[in-house]
Structures are given as structure tokens and as C-alpha cells.
């Protein structure tokens, strides 16, 4: 079935690129955010706050944006495909259901990698001097986080009634997660209840992992984050296997 998976993935990439705004909305916008804010922060007289934000806050924020837009795009595509009977049509072939969904995950991960590369390439001069992020490790951290959180996308795609609601409902579920991610307020400084919520959501582990790796932490310092993200993937995948609707 590998041939089918690769072919389907390739076809889905081509289709995605033909979508007007599809590629621009999901790839270019996060990169633009990085460049615009990076430029604003790029002053001769940085304050400690702007400096710390430019050092690690901004790249992680943009990474989260890249991740969330990949998940939203997945939710939209899956619900459009379900509504149009495309999923059902694909299921009436020898393709395994998990192969169909894996193809979409692969497309989104590739999209994420491309967005990240663009951000690094286009925004290199906004990365403050003295910060030398391990780009490759960071990419792995982002892909791992995206992979984990994409599994929520399948659950969201199952609960949206029609494709029209996919984007708004997806946003309602995902954006609050960013608030609890520790990106703006560190999880350790949150009130206890909020801290519990943060720990119950994958986004906090994603942020902790990506921040750490960006600043040069070794992977061994973030085994908990990695384990949590993998665990979330399996839990969410198990749930979506139960609730996922093909038609």
C-alpha cells in the first residue's frame, strides 16, 4: 500500500498548491508575521522585554502559528472531503482508512517544514545576534508537535457538522490552547487551575520543547515533553478512531 500512500500524498500536495490562497494563507502568513514583528523588535535600543521576546518568544509564536494553521487546514480539508463524499469514494478502494488519513498528515507535516524553512530563510536577520538555534533539531521538535496536535484535528473534523463550520470551530478549539501553552505566561506562574489545564493540553509540552530546543537545550532535557506529545498523539488517535465519521 506504500505506492498508494505516496501517490495519494503527492496528488494531495499538488491539489493543495492549486487552491487559491491555500498555500499563501497557510505558508506565507506565519512567515510575514515573523518578519513584521521581527522588524518592529529590531531596534537599536532593545529593552530586556523586547530582547527576550525576539530571542525566543517570536520564533515560538510563529512556530505555533504554523502548527495551528496546519491543523486548521487539515480540519477544513477533511470536512470538505467528507461532505463531498470524497472520503467515502476513497474508502471504496483497497486503500486502508488509515492510509487515507496518513497521506493528509504527511502533506501537513511537509507544509510545516516548508513554512519553517521560509521563516528561517526570510527572517534570518531578525534572529538576534548570539542566538544560534539548532535549526534541524528545532524542525524535528516542530514536526513532532505538529504531528501530535494534528491528531486533535481529526477529532475536530469529526465534530464539525458541515465544512462551513470547520474553520471557526477549529479556531475556537485551538486558539484558547495557545493561551494555556505557556507562551505568554509561563506555565509555572499560572494559577493552579490554569496550570492543570495547561498540563492537560499538548500545546504546553510543544511550547516547552520548542523553546528549549531553540535555546540549545539537549533533547535529554525534554524527554517528558516528547513523551507527553507522543502520548497525546496516541490518546487522540484512539479517540478519533472511535468518533471519526467518514460520511
Amino acid at each position: 500500500m506504500l505506492r498508494g500512500l505516496l501517490k495519494l500524498t503527492w496528488v494531495e500536495i499538488k491539489i493543495f498548491l492549486r487552491e487559491p490562497l491555500g498555500a499563501i494563507g497557510t505558508i506565507v502568513v506565519p512567515v510575514l508575521v515573523f518578519m513584521v514583528i521581527g522588524r518592529a523588535m529590531h531596534t537599536k535600543t532593545p529593552t530586556p522585554t523586547t530582547e527576550s521576546f525576539a530571542r525566543v518568544g517570536l520564533p515560538i509564536l510563529v512556530a505555533i502559528l504554523i502548527m495551528v494553521s496546519a491543523v486548521l487546514s487539515l480540519v477544513t480539508i477533511i470536512s470538505v472531503y467528507r461532505e463531498g463524499g470524497i472520503l467515502k469514494r476513497l474508502r471504496a478502494t483497497p486503500l486502508r482508512p488509515q492510509t487515507i488519513l496518513t497521506a493528509h498528515v504527511l502533506v501537513k507535516l511537509l507544509l510545516t517544514a516548508v513554512s519553517l524553512s521560509l521563516m528561517i530563510l526570510a527572517g534570518k536577520r531578525y534572529i538576534p545576534p548570539g542566538v544560534h538555534p539548532p535549526i534541524f533539531s528545532f524542525a524535528i521538535a516542530l514536526l513532532l508537535s505538529t504531528w501530535s496536535i494534528l491528531s486533535i484535528g481529526f477529532i475536530i473534523a469529526s465534530i464539525v457538522p458541515t465544512a462551513r463550520f470547520a474553520q471557526p470551530i477549529g479556531a475556537v478549539v485551538l486558539y484558547p490552547m495557545i493561551a494555556f501553552s505557556g507562551l505568554f505566561v509561563p506555565v509555572s506562574l499560572m494559577p493552579p487551575v490554569f496550570r492543570l489545564v495547561a498540563h492537560a493540553l499538548p500545546m504546553s509540552y510543544a511550547v516547552s520543547l520548542m523553546q528549549g530546543i531553540w535555546l540549545g537545550d539537549p533533547w535529554s532535557a525534554h524527554l517528558v515533553d516528547v513523551a507527553a506529545l507522543i502520548l497525546f498523539f496516541f490518546v487522540f488517535t484512539a479517540i478519533s478512531a472511535k468518533v471519526f465519521r467518514w460520511e
Binding site: R3, G4, K7, L8, V11, E12, K14, I15, R18, E19, Y81, G84, G85, I86, K88, R89, R91, A92, T93, P94, L95, R96
Partner: protein, 304 residues
């Protein structure tokens, strides 16, 4: 003849809705078998159980000797499927769809370009799915259903929403599928389609199969009434018509006679006309069709 599909006592409910109450029938190798009935009769559910896409609550199904639900992947390699109201990705190109489908089967597939040519889609090879006309979309779905050189082809409401011209073109294609020795199982709510295309039909209503036979036999069995209309100025005609065996009534208005009867009425009337040298200025027959059979069997028109 060898049965390729055997359906026995199938029942399928969704919550409190009974989609299929009881369905039992066999489809033989090399025939075009039609499941006919109004929308909501349970045709699609029955078909999707046979394709292995749904699991019946009760009953057994065998397709090419396989259990469609448990051996669905094995089965899908050997059948071709066109689903009702299915779509493809809006911006997938025709050739990409055919190429993708060809890669999904574990057996040797047919030449996609030749298939597109046979279905008249060569010019649309690089067109996006969303820019195809209704007829072109259906032809593409037929191509996808045939790409793995299947033994049985399933067509669900193939011509719904098409204009009469495209419909006729599709009928020719379906006959072509049978000519290649394949078995075709189709559903339709168009009685004309069933009459023109199917070797045998099963009439379905409210989740039950009411009767199964060739269209001609069904008409003969359930609607044996025949009507012949003859225009003639012959003053003796009325007498002669009354004397035809099997005649149940003769009405006359001006010079137009309406003769009602059953069975071999048409032959008898022609015989009578020639025997008595009756000069005729017009001759028409009104024969019942599957539409009438359905009305008779269910007490209502299929269009309601």
C-alpha cells in the same frame, strides 16, 4: 448460470429507521441486474452492504465467493464501484485521478489512457474535476470503476441529474461493460433506464424486494392489460372487434375504436384486421411498462 452475488435475508436499520427490511436475491454472471424503486426504498443501503461498505444487521451476503464485510480489501480488488453523489477533489486532474486509482490495486490494472479514450475523456485529460460537466464526471467515475478490470461493477444511480442525451451515452457505455463479460449491478429510480438496460430487475419498496424478473416478464405478470387504438371508417369494424378472443371492451368515438384486452391482444387485432380486410387509417398500441408495474405493486407512482 453461476451466481456472482448472493444476498439472503439482509436487514439493515439505522436507529429506529428500517433502511432494508428484508432483501434476498441472486445476481448471475454476465448480466445487468437492476435494483429499482423510489428514492428511500433501501437500494443504496443494499448496494453498499454488498460492496462491503456497510455491515448488515442480519442476513448473509456473498460476492464472488467472498464475505464483503470481512474480506472487504480482497473484494475491492475484484470489483469496481461508482457511488451515488460522490465527488472527487475539486482540483484533481482527470489523468491524476485515473493514475491514483490505478496505483491502489494489487493486481494489474487496465491502461488508463485507453480507458479515457473509450469513455470520450481524452480531451479532458488535464481538466480539473470541478470543471467537468455532469456527464463527464459520471464517465470519469465509470473509468475509475473499471480501472482494475473488475469482475463485477456496481453503479448507483448512475444517470441521476443528467440530460437525456448524456443519459443515453452512458447507457451505451454500460452495455459495453457487459459486452466485456462483466457483471453489472445497478440501482435506478428511472424505470425507462431499467427497461432499456437491465436483463433482470428487482423491484424494491420500503426496504423490501417485491418481485424479481426480466422487465418483460414483470410487465406481463403484473400488467397483462393491452390497449389497441384503431381508426377506421369500416361500418362492420365494431362487430369484428367484439368477436376477437380475449377482448374485454370496445369503445367507439367517431371513427376511433379503443379495444381493451389482455395477453395476445395486439396479435389478435392485427389478425382480425387482415382477415376481414378492414381499411385502417391509424393504428396504435398502449402497452404497460415498469412504471405501471410499480404502480400496481405498490399502489403509488414511483415519482411521488
Amino acid at each position: 448460470m453461476r451466481p456472482v452475488i448472493q444476498v439472503s435475508g439482509v436487514r439493515k436499520t439505522y436507529g429506529s429507521t428500517i433502511a432494508v427490511a428484508e432483501a434476498s436475491f441472486e445476481v448471475y454472471e454476465g448480466e445487468i441486474f437492476g435494483l429499482i424503486g423510489p428514492n428511500g426504498a433501501g437500494k443504496t443501503t443494499t448496494m453498499e452492504c454488498i460492496e462491503g461498505l456497510r455491515k448488515p444487521d442480519q442476513g448473509t451476503i456473498s460476492v464472488l465467493g467472498l464475505d464483503p464485510f470481512r474480506q472487504v480489501y480482497k473484494l475491492q480488488n475484484r470489483i469496481g464501484v461508482q457511488l451515488q453523489q460522490a465527488q472527487l477533489q475539486k482540483r484533481i486532474k482527470v489523468w491524476e485521478a485515473v493514475d491514483l486509482w490505478a496505483s491502489l490495486y494489487q493486481k494489474k490494472t487496465v491502461d488508463g489512457d485507453r480507458l479515457l479514450e473509450q469513455l470520450g475523456l481524452t480531451e479532458k485529460r488535464s481538466a480539473w474535476f470541478m470543471n467537468l460537466s455532469g456527464g463527464q464526471k459520471q464517465r470519469l467515475f465509470i473509468a475509475l470503476a473499471l480501472i482494475n478490470d473488475p469482475e463485477v461493477v456496481f453503479l448507483d444511480e448512475l444517470t441521476t441529474g443528467l440530460d437525456p442525451q448524456s443519459r443515453r451515452a452512458i447507457w451505451d457505455l454500460v452495455r459495453g461493460i457487459r459486452m466485456r463479460g462483466k457483471t453489472v449491478f445497478l440501482t435506478t429510480h428511472l424505470m425507462e433506464e431499467a427497461e432499456r438496460l437491465c436483463d433482470r430487475v428487482a423491484v424494491m419498496d420500503h426496504g423490501r424486494i417485491i418481485d424479481i424478473d426480466t422487465p418483460e416478464s414483470l410487465v406481463l405478470r403484473h400488467c397483462p392489460e393491452r390497449t389497441v387504438i384503431v381508426d377506421t371508417g369500416d361500418p362492420a369494424a365494431a362487430q369484428h372487434f367484439q368477436a376477437i378472443p380475449g377482448v374485454e371492451g370496445v369503445e367507439c368515438a367517431e371513427n376511433r375504436f379503443t379495444i381493451r384486452g389482455r395477453g395476445e391482444l395486439v396479435t389478435e387485432v392485427i389478425h382480425c384486421l387482415s382477415e376481414n380486410r378492414i381499411r385502417v387509417t391509424d393504428f396504435r398500441t398502449i402497452l404497460p411498462n415498469l412504471e405501471d408495474v410499480f404502480l400496481k405493486l405498490t399502489g403509488r407512482s414511483i415519482r411521488e
